[in-house]
C-alpha cells in the first residue's frame, strides 16, 4: 500500500449538494515530489485535512477519499457538522489545505466474479468508501457483484445516486420519514435482502460505513445471519497515523484495543467488541 505523506493541496472545486452535503475537490501541488500521492488509494482509506485556520481547532479532521486520479486531484464528501467540517465547507476555491494520506490499512476487498455479492451499506457521510468500492467494481465490469443499501433521514440525505445509476449498481434506499424507499433505517431493506440470500443459498457479504448506531445494528444483523461483515469505523482521531493512540477500537483477540487509523478503519464485525 502507498506510504503516507503530508502535502499541500488547493481547493479547486466546492460543490454544495442537497441536504447540507458538500463535495470538496482538491488538487495537490503539481511540483511536489509525488504529484499524485493518493493515486493508489483503496476504498476505506482516508486523509487528514486541515486548513490555515490558526490554533483552533488544533487537529486535522479525517475524511474518506471519494475518488482520486493520477493528476493529483481528489474529492471528499462532507457535511458541516462541527468546527472542523464547518470551516472546510466554508472554504473557497484557491484556499490551501494541508493533507496527510493515504491513511488506513484495513480496507474493503474488491468483489470477485465468483465470490459473494457485496452488500454496500451506507449512511450519511459514510458513503465515500462504498461509492469508491462501487466505482472500482463497475470499472472492473463487476457492477452486478455489488448492491447499494443507502439510508438517510429524508430524501435530501441521499446524495450521488446518479453515480450508482450510471455504473449500473442496484440500489435499495430507505428514509426515516419514508419520503424515498423503505420507511425506517437501512436495516429494513438489508434484513430483507439477507433473508432472500439465506433462502436462495446465495453467498453475500456486508461492507458498511456510516454513523456508529447504524454500524451497531448492521453488525448485529450480519452476525445473526452469519454473513461476513466488514465495518468501516469512525473514531475521533488526533493524528491519523498510529501515534496518539486516541482512536482505540475495543476488540476481541490478542489485545483489548486495535486502532481505527492504523489497524482499520475497516474491521471484521466479529472482532469488534461492541455491546
Amino acid at each position: 500500500m502507498t506510504t503516507p505523506s503530508q502535502f499541500q493541496a488547493r481547493v479547486v472545486g466546492h460543490e454544495p449538494l442537497r441536504g447540507g452535503y458538500f463535495l470538496l475537490e482538491l488538487q495537490s501541488r503539481p511540483d511536489a515530489a509525488d504529484p499524485a500521492p493518493l493515486a493508489g488509494v483503496v476504498p476505506g482509506q482516508f486523509v487528514m485535512l486541515r486548513g490555515e485556520w490558526g490554533r483552533d481547532p488544533i487537529n486535522p479532521r479525517a475524511f474518506s477519499v471519494l475518488d482520486a486520479d493520477a493528476s493529483g486531484r481528489f474529492r471528499v464528501l462532507l457535511k458541516a457538522y462541527g468546527r472542523g467540517t464547518g470551516r472546510l465547507c466554508a472554504m473557497d476555491e484557491g484556499e490551501r489545505v494541508t493533507v496527510t494520506g493515504p491513511l488506513g490499512r484495513g480496507h474493503f476487498a474488491p468483489p470477485t466474479p465468483a465470490g459473494p455479492v457485496q452488500l454496500l451499506v451506507a449512511g450519511g457521510v459514510g458513503l465515500p468508501p462504498l461509492h469508491l468500492q462501487a466505482r472500482r467494481a463497475a470499472a472492473a465490469g463487476l457492477a452486478r457483484r455489488v448492491e447499494l443499501f443507502y439510508g438517510g433521514r429524508n430524501a435530501d440525505d441521499l446524495v450521488l445516486l446518479s453515480d450508482f445509476e450510471g455504473w449500473g449498481v442496484s440500489m435499495a434506499l430507505s428514509t426515516e420519514d419514508g419520503s424515498v424507499g423503505d420507511t425506517g433505517f437501512v436495516t429494513v431493506p438489508l434484513a430483507r435482502r439477507l433473508a432472500r440470500a439465506e433462502a436462495e443459498g446465495a453467498p453475500v457479504e456486508i461492507l458498511a460505513c456510516g454513523p456508529t448506531p447504524m454500524l451497531k445494528a448492521v453488525r448485529h444483523l450480519g452476525l445473526a445471519h452469519r454473513v461476513p461483515t466488514f465495518l468501516c469505523l469512525e473514531e475521533e482521531m488526533a493524528c491519523g497515523f498510529g501515534v496518539c493512540l486516541g482512536c482505540a477500537v475495543p476488540v476481541y483477540g490478542e489485545r483489548p484495543y486495535a486502532y481505527c487509523c492504523s489497524d482499520g478503519p475497516v474491521f471484521d464485525a466479529r472482532e469488534v467488541r461492541w455491546p
Partner: protein, 340 residues
Amino acid sequence: MTAPVRATASLAPEQVDLGCRFGPLTLPHPVMTASGCFAYGRSFAPFFDVRELAGLSTKGISPKPRPGNPLPRICETAAGMLNSIGLENVGAEAFLGEKLPWLASLGISLWVNFFGEDKDSYVECARLLDAGHGRGIDVLEMNISCPNIKKGGIEFGTVPEVAHELTRRCVEATRIPIVVKLSPNAADLPAMAQAVAEAGAIGVSLINTITGMAIDVRTRRPRLATTYGGLSGPAIKPIALRMIHQVHRALPKLPICGMGGIASGEDVLEFLMAGASCVQVGTANFAQPDAGPSVRDQLRTLMAELGIARPADILGCIEPLPAEPPWSSVPPSPPPLVRS
C-alpha cells in the same frame, strides 16, 4: 464507546424554567457576570438592560483605592488572554457612596468582590462593606487568589488552614453572606472548599484566572509589566470544569458558582452538569458586551431542545460512560474469529 443521546422529548422554550438557587439566594436564571470583567456595571448600560442578568460580581474592592499596575497589563494568548490589572479599584468607601446606589437600583443579585493586602485588611474590607447590608449587597465574594498581590498572598489561596482562618474572620466581620472565590493554583481544591465552607462561607466561586506568562522575543521582555498575569478565556474551560466537578463530587451540598471560559449556552450547560449552581461570564464580555443575556438565551434554547425543564434537573448530573463489554481473546457468542 459513544453513549446514546438521552431521548428526552424536546420542550417549547417557554416551558423551560431557568430559575435556580444558590444556597439562600433565588435567581431568575443561572447567568451572572464575573468580577473584573463587568467593572461597576454602568459601562454596559449603553449595550443592554443590565437587569437582564441574574446578578453581577463587581470589580474587586479593597479597603482603600488602588491605582493598578504599570502597563502593559493585558496580552492575548491562544484562545485566551493574560491580565495583570493589579486589582485597581475605587476603594470600599467610594464604592459604597458612588457605585452602590445605582447597582442596588437594578434589583438583581449583587455580589461585591473584595480582597485585602493582608489578613487584617481583608477583615477590614468585609467590615466596611457590611455597611451595604440591607442596601442591595447580596453576597461578598472573597477573592483569595490574587496573583498580583505581593506579601504572602499566595498562602491565602493555597493552604487550607490559612484560608479557613481568613474566611472565619471575615464571616464574623459582616452580616452579608460570604462566597469564597478559590484559586485554581491550589493543588487540592476540595480541601480548600471544605476549609472555607467549614469557616462559614455559603458557597464557592471557581475558577479565578490561572497564573501564566508570555514573552516578547523581540524585546526579550515579558509581555506584561508584572511578568506574570492571570489566564482567562476558553483556553481554561477544561481545567475549570474539572475543578468544579471535583469540588461538587467531594461536597455535593456546597453551592458552586462556576466560571472560566464561558462563551455560549452550551458552555453554561457543561458547567451546570459538572456541578455549578450558577455561572459567571467573564472575558466574553469584552468581545460581546451583552454576552450575559445572549448566553442565557442560548441556554434556554438548548435546554428546550434537550428536554431539560429546570437547571436543578441536571445539576451535577453527569455519570460515567457505560462500560465496554469485557475483553476476551475469543468473542463470546458467534463463530470464532477469522481475520480476513
